[in-house]
Chain length 107, copies 2
């Protein structure tokens, strides 16, 4: 698929917009933190993170069994404009819950 269409397609989902907004606000997060904070089951989150990654919005860094996702930097022009739009959306962002640091995730 064309790159632009893939980029747009990745933006075309409320869940992914929320994830992007979350990562933009709180910075690097491991999947289990996202799970507890956003109250999503693991497979769903994993799927959307993959789509965001393949669309060039996020990067992953593995540390042990954990996978830390973050907004890619630098983003190209169109993607940063999209992120800027997302930044100004009226989204009620749930508070960050750092399960990964306080102990094991045990989800």
């Amino acid at each position: 698929m064309d790159v632009f269409l893939k980029t747009v397609s990745a933006l075309n989902d409320e869940t992914r917009i929320l994830i992007l907004r979350f990562l933009d606000e709180y910075g690097d997060s491991c999947v289990c933190d996202l799970q507890t904070s956003l109250d999503m089951i693991q497979s769903r989150l994993s799927r959307h993170l993959k789509i965001l990654k393949e669309a060039g919005f996020v990067r992953v860094e593995r540390r042990g069994t954990w996978a830390y996702y973050a907004i890619r930097s630098p983003l190209d022009r169109f993607r940063s404009e999209a992120l800027e739009e997302i930044r100004h959306l009226d989204i009620t962002l749930p508070p960050l819950q750092k399960t990964s640091q306080t102990g094991a995730c045990k989800l």
Copy 2:
């Protein structure tokens, strides 16, 4: 639906990207010109034009039985960035066929 999501959703389709690219290149066009030039059946075209209109990308002007569509101007920041991206895509744009001017459309 949220405005941003609606905007993105409108971009998330090859047909609509082609239509936007076409209007950007050739300017105002009536539906029958789009039909012949892009070789699309009328109902399909009409549907996509409606989506583009409701997403704020195009405007319509009626002249008699004809409906002329054009890129809205000015576009807001995000939409113009999107259009700019589309402008640089590797799309083989079919030539403009002005059915509406040479006579009746008779499609």
